[in-house]
Symmetry: C2
Subunit: 553 residues, 2 copies
C-alpha cells in the first residue's frame, strides 16, 4: 500500500509550477456559469439534522491481543455513577456513546464542595476505536497534521460552567483526564452531551426478512458510515480530511441512491465541484467548504476522479430525475470527456506513462505497486460510455457524436494490447502485471465479456504475485465487476470476508484502512490517525440493496 499523502505532496509540488504557468491563469472557460453553479450549490445545501446524544455507559479500555489493534472496551456501568460523585478521583475515565457520532461536544461542570476558587484543566480524547484512547499521541511523527488527532485541552475558568468545544469531533468513546484542579473545592461532571449532526433524517427500507445476519450487520454498519459522512457535503471521513473528493462522492452517491435517497446533497456536491473547477474546465479532485468554498488549488489533475464525475452526474439524473441539473452541468461533463484525448495514443491506448510525466495523478487504488495502465484504460472507456448514455438522455448526442467510435477504438486497443487470451487475464504495463484492479476495470468497462470476466477472476486465485486491492475503494470495483460477471456468490463472499471482517473486529462504521492481516496498517505511519468512519468503505449498502437477489436471500 502506498503512502497516499506522500504521493499527493509530490504531485502538488510537481504540479504547482505547471498550474501557475498554465491553466490556472488561463481564460476561465466557465466564467459565465460558475457563479450560478455555486449559487445552486449553496441553495441545495441540506439542513443539518441535529440530535442531542448522551453517553450511555462507563467502560474500561483493556489490553486484549485477540481484539482489533490489541484493545477492547469492557464493562457497562451507568454514567450516573460518574455524575454522582467527585470527578477528582475519576480522571482518565472513558465513557461510551455506544454509536459513532459526529458533532459538537458540551460538558457541564458543577461544584459539589467548597467554593470554586481556581480554574480547571481537562484533556478530552475522542476515539472512534478503543486504541485511540490508550495510544499516546506524542508518538506521532507522520506527515499528516497531528491536529487531526482528537485530543482537546481546555481551561475552565469559572465553575459552574457549561463548555462547548469549538471543534467538531467524530467518535464513539471519550476519555476525560483532569490536568488541573484546586484543593479548595470539589466538583462533578453534571452532564455531557453531543449535538450530533448529519444531513440524513430518514430510515431506509428494511432488508428482506431472512437476510443473512452478517449481511444485515454489514448493511447496518455501512448505513452508519454513510450517514456520518453525509454532512453538508459528502465528506470522505468526519474525523479526518472532512472534505469532498470526487471518488468518495461517486461511491457515497451510489449508496445513497439505494438507501437514504438524499439527492439534494448529491446535487450540491456536483454543483460545488463544477463551480470550483479549474479555469481550463477540468475538475479539481477535492474541494473544501470552509472558511468558504474553495478547491484544493495546486493539486495535480486527478484523471480517474474527473472521469467518474461524469458517471456520478448520469447516476444522479437516473436516481433523481432532475434533468435541469444534468443539463446545467452538461458543459462540465463534456469538458471532462475531452481529457482522455490529451494523452490518447494513435493505437487507441491511453498513454498513462506520458500522463504521469505531465503530472497527472492516476489514482485507481492506494496500492503503489499497481500498474495503472489497464485500469485507466477501463475507466476511460467506462466513463465515456456513461457520458454518451447521459448525452442520449439529455438529447446531446450530437455534441459528443465522436464518442461511440472512440469507445470502440479504445475497447479494441484494450483487447489487443491488454488481454492475454492464453491466460484468460488482462495484463497491465510493460511488465504485464496481473492485478484485481485491471480485471475489474476491464469488466466494468465492457472490454471483457461476462464470461471473460468470470474466467479472469477465477484465474486470479492461482496467480502467485497478483496485485491485490489496497483499500475498500478498489474492493468496491472488484465486487461490482464480479457481479457484472455473474459471480454473485463470489461477490457476496468477498463482502462477507472483507467488510464482514471489520464487523467481526467490532467496527461501528467502516474503516478507511483495512488489511485483514494487519490491524496496525496506516498509510500515515500511525494507526490512530486513520479514519475509522470512511465514506469509500460504505458501498456494501449499495450492493446489498441494489442486488437483493444476491444479498437478501
Amino acid at each position: 500500500m502506498i503512502n497516499l499523502k506522500k504521493q499527493l505532496l509530490l504531485l502538488i509540488l510537481l504540479g504547482m509550477g505547471q498550474f501557475l504557468a498554465g491553466q490556472e491563469l488561463a481564460k476561465d472557460v466557465f466564467m459565465l456559469q460558475r457563479k450560478d453553479w455555486l449559487k445552486n450549490a449553496e441553495a441545495s445545501k441540506p439542513k443539518l439534522f441535529e440530535q442531542v446524544k448522551k453517553p450511555v455507559s462507563i467502560v474500561k479500555i483493556v489490553k486484549d491481543e485477540r481484539s482489533f489493534q490489541g484493545w477492547r472496551s469492557e464493562g457497562n456501568q451507568p454514567v450516573s455513577e460518574l455524575y454522582s460523585s467527585s470527578f477528582k478521583k475519576q480522571s482518565g475515565i472513558v465513557v461510551d456513546f455506544k454509536t459513532h457520532l459526529t458533532g459538537y461536544f458540551t460538558i457541564t461542570i458543577k461544584a459539589i464542595h467548597g467554593t470554586p476558587d481556581a480554574p480547571l484543566r481537562f484533556r478530552f480524547t475522542f476515539g472512534e476505536v478503543p486504541s485511540e484512547l490508550v495510544t499516546p499521541f506524542e508518538q506521532y511523527k507522520g506527515g499528516l497534521s497531528r491536529a487531526w488527532l482528537q485530543d482537546e485541552i481546555i481551561t475552565v475558568m469559572d465553575v459552574p460552567a457549561r463548555v462547548t468545544l469549538p471543534r467538531r469531533v467524530a467518535f464513539r468513546y471519550l476519555k476525560i483526564d483532569l490536568l488541573g484542579s484546586s484543593a479548595f473545592f470539589d466538583f462533578a461532571i453534571a452532564d455531557m452531551e453531543l449535538k450530533s449532526t448529519t444531513s440524513v433524517n430518514i430510515q431506509p427500507v428494511s432488508l428482506a426478512a431472512g437476510t443473512n445476519s452478517m449481511i444485515a450487520q454489514i448493511d447496518s454498519v455501512g448505513l452508519a458510515t454513510l450517514k456520518e459522512c453525509m454532512q453538508t457535503v459528502y465528506e470522505d471521513g468526519p474525523k479526518r480530511d472532512r472534505r469532498l473528493w470526487i471518488g468518495d462522492l461517486y461511491l457515497e452517491a451510489l449508496a445513497n441512491n439505494q438507501s437514504f435517497k438524499k439527492h439534494d446533497l448529491t446535487k450540491r456536491c456536483l454543483y460545488l465541484l463544477a463551480g470550483l473547477s479549474r479555469n481550463d474546465g477540468y475538475l479539481y479532485p477535492s474541494v473544501f467548504e470552509n472558511p468558504e468554498p474553495h478547491p484544493q488549488a495546486g493539486i495535480s489533475f486527478l484523471f480517474d476522479y474527473a472521469l467518474l464525475y461524469n458517471v456520478a452526474v448520469k447516476d444522479y439524473l437516473d436516481a433523481s430525475g432532475d434533468r435541469g441539473t444534468a443539463l446545467d452541468l452538461w458543459p462540465v461533463v463534456k469538458k471532462q470527456a475531452e481529457s482522455p484525448l490529451i494523452h490518447l495514443r494513435r493505437d487507441g491506448m491511453f498513454d498513462d506513462r506520458q500522463a504521469m510525466k505531465d503530472n497527472w495523478w492516476l489514482f485507481v487504488d492506494w496500492n503503489k505497486a499497481l500498474d495503472r495502465q489497464a485500469s485507466i484504460q477501463g475507466i476511460v472507456i467506462y466513463s465515456l460510455a456513461q457520458t454518451y448514455e447521459l448525452a442520449r438522455r439529455l438529447g446531446k448526442e450530437r455534441e459528443v457524436s465522436h464518442l461511440p467510435a472512440l469507445i470502440a477504438r479504445m475497447t479494441a486497443a484494450a483487447r489487443k494490447n491488454l488481454f492475454n487470451k492464453q491466460r484468460g487475464l488482462f495484463e497491465s504495463g510493460p511488465k504485464k502485471q496481473i492485478s484485481y484492479a485491471s480485471q475489474a476495470w476491464m469488466v466494468i468497462s465492457g472490454v471483457a465479456s461476462k464470461k471473460e470476466g468470470q474466467s479472469a477472476f477465477e484465474a486470479l486465485a492461482a496467480i502467485k504475485d497478483v496485485v491485490k486491492p489496497g483499500a475498500a475503494y478498489l474492493y468496491h470495483y472488484v465486487v461490482e465487476a464480479m457481479i457484472k460477471s455473474g459471480m454473485g456468490r463470489e461477490a457476496k463472499d468477498l463482502i462477507l470476508d472483507y467488510w464482514g471482517g471489520m464487523v467481526k473486529k467490532g467496527a461501528d462504521t467502516f474503516w478507511e484502512v483495512y488489511d485483514p492481516s494487519d490491524d496496525y496498517l496506516s498509510p500515515y505511519g500511525f494507526f490512530p490517525i486513520n479514519s475509522y468512519c470512511h465514506a469509500w468503505s460504505c458501498t456494501p449498502v449499495y450492493f446489498i440493496r441494489k442486488y437483493p437477489e444476491i444479498f437478501q436471500k
Copy 2:
C-alpha cells in the same frame, strides 16, 4: 515563609463544620440591605477600558545565572520578521509585548502556499517573567490548580482563521509552539493582538522633578501593577487568584487614592463585600465575580482583614467625600467592630490563641513563624480607632460610644503585656517573640509613641533571631510604621532596597513573592505559578505620592 494555601486548606476544612452548623444557617442580619448593596455594587462596576496592543519584538530567552531566576530575554528583532515568513520553521518563537498586559489574545493565521487541507495545533505559553516560558509546566505538582499556568492548546480547523482565546491572560512574553500542521500547505501568522483591559484610563500626576530615579522607577512599576489589578474589582493578581480580598483591596485603595483616584471601583468592592457578607454579618475575606458574585463560602473568618474593611470605608469617605455610601455601609462597619469583643480577655488583651482554636484566621503576614499576638492587638486597636473616626464623620458616635474606652483599655493592656521597656521592643506571645510585624502594628495603632517606635525599629537590627516580614503585604505596614515614627529616610531605604530590588531584577510589575535572597521561592512549590503582578506589592505608589517630602526630593 509559610505555605499560605496549605494553611488556607486546613482552615477551610476546620471551619466548614462550624460554619454549616452555625452562622451560615443563622438568621440573615442584613436581609433587608443585602440586595441593595449588591445592586449598588453592580451599578458602580467600572467600564473596562480596552486597548489593542501588539507584540513589539521577537526575543530569545537565554540562560543567565546572574538574571532573575536564571533567565533573561535578549534581542529585539521586529515582529514583522515573524509575520513575513512561514511559521513552520519558527515554532518556539517568543514575542515580547514590552509591558505587562491583561486581556484577551487574538491570533490571525493566513495561508501562504498551497491550499489549507488540515487543522493546525498550537500551544501558546504566556509568561509574566522569562522563566515561565522555559520551565516545563509538567513538573508542577503543587496544591494550587495547575490550570493557573498559562499555556493554552488550540486546534485551528480552517485557515485563514482569526482565533481569540476564551481565557483572559496576564503576561508580557508569549511563546508560540506549533504542535501540528500539514505538509500540504504552508502558513504564516498574519497578526497578533491583545485586547487589554483595565478600569484605569487616566495618567496620575507626574512626580516632582528631581525625584530619585529609582524611586521614579518604583513608582512607575507600582502604577503598572495597580493598573493591571484594577479590573471590575481590585484583583489580587490578574494572572492567578483573580479575586477580591479585603487585604488587597485595602492596600490597592490606598494607592489608588494617591494616583488614579478611581473611587467607583473602591465603592463597588466595598458594596460587593457587604452584599456577600455572612448571615451573621461578618465579612468573608474574599469574593468572586464569576460566574456570578459569590463569596468564598466555607472559608474561616479572616479577622484582621474584616477589621481592615472598616479602615477602608473610612479611607474611601475621606478620599471620595461620598458620605452616602459610608452611611449605607455603616451597619457592616459597626458589625465588624463587634468581632474583637468575642475573644477579648478581661485584661484588655485580645485572646489570639482562643480565636485560633475557634478557627479564626489571623493572617498578618505569610511568615508562619510569626507570633501574631502583638500584631493582632495592634490591628484591633487601629481598626477600632479608625472606626470611631468614621463614626464621628458620620455622626454615629453614640452607636459606638463604648469604643474610646475599649481602645484605651486595649492600648494600656498592650503596653503592659507586650512592651519590654528595658529592650525598648514589643514582644509577642508566650515566647516573647520579637518581630517587625509586632513593632509595626504597635506603632500604627498608636500603642507606641513616635519615639518608642523609632527606638524599637533601631533596636531590631541588633536582634539576631528577629522575625522578618514574609511578603510585601507586611513590608507595607513596616514602611508605614517607620514613617509614623519619623524614620522617613529608613522607610525610603527600605523601599529602595525591597521594591528597588525587584526593579533591578527586571520587574515590570511587582511580585507576589519576593525574597531578595531566593529568586525561586514559592509558597506553592513551583515558582512559575507565583503571581508576578500582585496587588499587595503596589503600595510604594501610595508612599511616594502621599509623602513627597520623603520620597520626591
